[in-house]
Amino acid sequence: MLERATRLIISLLFAAALAIGPVQAHAHGEAGEHVKRFEEHIGDYEQDVDHLISQLGAIVKGYAPGQDVSEEVKALLHEWEEVRYHAAVETVATPLYAPIWQAISGFKDAVREGAPEPTVRRRQQALEAALWQGLGALKLAASQRAAGGERQGKQPAAGQAEAETGPEATLEAIIDDLDRAVAAYQDGNLEKARTLISETYLHRFEGLEGRLIEKDPELVVGLEEAFNARLPQLMEQGAPVAEVREQVAAMQSELEEAESLLLETQGDKGQVF
């Protein structure tokens, strides 16, 4: 039951990760190469989590109310900041990143305040759960990428590590999101499919459409209608997968046209200085 609940939480949080989209660079420097191919490093991340949990366990084992373990906690914090798992969660499963910090903070507060052992153990469990949830989200993302076929191999899914540095990369990501929406619809997950469509529109397409509409407003009008009405309506009406796929293929073709137009406008952009 607990495992099922945890999986549900991971799924929900990961769905949020997909919705929110990726970050590109990191406060502590560029993410390592491992993040770009995170699916090949799940074992490394698992080791990192094991190590962090072991370190955490050692602190709790030697803890007694009133005992100063601030140095050990500091070392744990340092370890968390350094491990590869950190960068992977931060980039690939962003919504699970802040909860880990919150759980660390809760644990840190408890030991600093000399809380009773049961309280410290509860905080320990909460932190362990947060770390496992982050790992679960990474595994889920890795399995989705592996199942994604040729296009997903070319372009990581929303929420995953990607170098979305220009309009062409963003459009590729949108095309990829649409593929994933069809896959979700085919699996009977209408809600996820609708969320993917809505979020890729709001967080990705919406950032591009300004310049695109200056170039070919009719194209944008068509895509707006497809994102906002035609595709979601087809899904809500329970249309056959083939019909949904046909609609998505039409949108992807228009997005490819949009990509060409946006590349043409690159030179039109003025200089900042």
Partner: protein
């Protein structure tokens, strides 16, 4: 502002024609604000959390500053502004500070960080560069966007439009809106803060009865242009963009007066760590070059006096926005409850 005077002015400014719009692009680099040439060279380490949006134009600004500042080791982390604000708060709770500066696309995300005391006072020398109504102690607005009524002049006569946003709830207009869109929710938050919960609830119910929902505000403006609706509520730049690409599109903009319907919201920067570099970076963002670039390329409203407005908008002092602390737009939860209660979300 006299809305009708504005409508005439908008036509005169070229809102209805591409030639005028192109002329406006060259006007954007006006003489307002300090030039980067007068600013100190940026140097040292700087980590910026940058809200995504505006089609990557903010990222272009970052890259231009990076290129201009070889002694600056600039790290940029991009993400949705709200997500970055939550991360800053979570990191601070854990006793860690990774970002030196937060450039958010909306003031409400800045508010989330500021209300937890995580921002540093903005030096007076920076705030004083801004127009007086945009001076805050904890952050610096960088560029603005104003709420508008985008209407189809073939379906609605100019004189029929109320200049009171609350009056739309009692009208017979077919209205387009995008309730799931962040800018719309900020607008409703402003209404709740200015008019109170009950009046906002009544407004939402009244408009809902004749509203068509769209996923984004460009969709709202397009719906007005196509005549699917008589009018819609949207940020100004969607109409300007549409007119740039489709000069004959049947849509124009109007403003309400001194209420949430003419809210001017802003992107903004907050200092998270001490030192000259983060503060100087904000000075770069307020330079006439960056302000002009955002006005020309993103159609955003420059907030430094003397920098030309995007083509199609009147001067900011001719718009009559409500008096509201923009960081209070972070109080989104009661707004969402209200929108759910009324079935709008």
């Amino acid at each position: 502002m006299d809305r009708r005077a504005f409508l005439q002015g908008a036509v005169a400014l070229g809102l209805l024609g591409p030639a005028g719009a192109r002329a406006g692009r060259s006007r954007g680099s006006g003489p307002g604000g300090l030039s980067v040439e007068a600013l100190p060279e940026l140097a040292g380490d700087l980590t910026v959390y940058l809200g995504r949006g505006e089609g990557g134009l903010y990222q272009d600004v970052m890259e231009a500053i990076r290129k201009r500042s070889p002694k600056l080791d600039l790290q940029v982390r991009r993400g949705p502004s709200t997500s970055l604000a939550n991360t800053i708060v979570a990191e601070a709770r854990a006793g860690v500070r990774r970002a030196d500066l937060f450039w958010s696309i909306d003031s409400s995300s800045i508010g989330l960080v500021a209300e937890r005391g995580l921002t540093r006072a903005m030096p007076a020398g920076i705030s004083s560069q801004l127009k007086s109504e945009f001076r805050y102690q904890d952050w610096a607005p960088i560029s603005g966007r104003v709420r508008t009524v985008a209407y189809n002049p073939e379906r609605v006569r100019e004189g029929e439009l109320p200049d009171d946003i609350m009056a739309f709830a009692d009208s017979d207009f077919a209205i387009g809106w995008a309730p799931a869109y962040g800018a719309f929710q900020s607008f409703v938050t402003a209404m709740r803060l200015l008019e109170g919960k009950q009046r906002t609830r009544d407004w939402l119910r009244g408009v809902k009865a004749r509203a068509t929902s769209y996923a984004g505000e460009l969709g709202v403006v397009m719906a007005a242009a196509r005549g699917e609706v008589d009018l819609g509520f949207a940020n100004h730049y969607y109409t300007l963009r549409l007119k740039q690409g489709m000069p004959d599109a049947s849509v124009a903009i109007a403003f309400t007066s001194n209420d949430a319907g003419s809210l001017v919201n802003a992107s903004g920067a907050a200092l998270l760590s001490p030192g000259e570099t983060p503060a100087d970076f904000v000075r770069y963002l307020l330079s006439r070059e960056v302000q002009g670039y955002l006005a020309r390329e993103a159609f955003e409203i420059p907030l430094v006096p003397g920098v030309a407005m995007p083509e199609g908008l009147p001067p900011l002092d001719e718009i009559d926005p409500p008096d509201l602390d923009l960081t209070r737009l972070a109080e989104i939860r009661p707004t969402l409850e209200l929108m759910r209660d009324t079935g709008v979300l």
